[in-house]
């Protein structure tokens, strides 16, 4: 099996703002993006938005610009709207493990390191790039990975195809399903 990696494609803030999944909200600033999460009512307009993080990509005037209920945008500074409790886009986990699931386990296992963890004094490395996780190579599929960077100003999109040579696979199927003598 081999993999083909396409990308990464960079999505700038302007393209981000045009995505349907993110509500764009730019009252005074051209490049102000409001990405949304928990429900809040803006005091000024009375409109309901789904949580917000105000992100400015351009350097606006050095003073402060007031938006709506008084949250402000400075010089390209990320200003938490005060409603999300420290959600950060720019710093995703470098690595997060997988665990066995269920209610009836007397012991649980983590997937990495496989097959068993090493003693802590030995030390270990871990994978920080999701498309290269070894468990992705266990079956043929395609995946897309999205990563915010630079505090949510950009989105990195990576497409990858985990698969093999289809002609080789077809020949193998013909051999194993039709030509091989069952013995």
């Amino acid at each position: 099996m081999h993999w083909q990696l396409r990308g990464p494609h960079q999505l700038g803030p302007q393209r981000l703002a045009s995505r349907k999944t993110l509500l764009s909200f730019a009252p005074a600033l051209a490049a102000t993006v409001v990405a949304c999460h928990a429900a809040t009512v803006l005091a000024s307009g009375g409109e309901t938005i789904v949580s917000s993080q105000v992100i400015s990509d351009t350097v606006v005037d050095s003073g402060t610009t007031t938006i709506g209920d008084g949250t402000f945008v400075g010089d390209g500074v990320v200003v938490d709207g005060g409603m999300m409790g420290g959600r950060t886009y720019g710093q995703p986990d470098l690595f997060y493990n997988y665990y066995t699931q269920g209610m009836a386990n007397q012991a649980n296992a983590q997937m990495y390191l496989a097959p068993v963890p090493v003693p802590p004094n030995v030390g270990h490395t871990f994978y920080t790039y999701q498309p290269f996780y070894p468990h992705e190579l266990l079956y043929w599929h395609k995946d897309r990975y999205h990563n915010f960077y630079d505090n949510g100003r950009g989105l990195n999109r990576t497409r990858i195809n985990y698969g093999g040579n289809p002609i080789h696979q077809a020949a193998s199927n013909i051999y194993w399903n039709y030509l091989r003598l069952p013995r």
């Binding site: 997988y98 665990y99 066995t100 699931q101 269920g102 007397q106 012991a107 997937m111 068993v116 266990l138």
Partner: protein, 128 residues
Amino acid sequence: MSKTTSGWLFAAVALVSLGAQPNQADAGDPMAVTTLWNHNFAQPRPWHGGYYYQPYGQPTALVVPPTAHMRQTHSWGVGQNLMWPIHHQFGRSATQPGAAGPGQFMATPQWPSHTDQFGIYYVRGPWD
């Protein structure tokens, strides 16, 4: 249409259909019903048997592809071969307890008679 043209067309269609097959990871279950069944069956059942893996001291999960469906156990002495579905799959939620205390699991017997006694149990890898 001449014979040769139709022959080439047939060959091309056959090639395309053969090539398209392997990209369908979970064909035959478009609604992912077995995934749901597996999830529901895994909840009240442990992923492990009653034995620990001798070199590690804990029951040990062997990662198998998420497309794997069945496992086979083998016992000897009193011979037995059984097929079991693999319900359990690795997931994102961190779970309790982590490691088992000493004495919770049995060691592999001096004369093993079943493949489950070696303390290695299949768990399917995650989809993503």
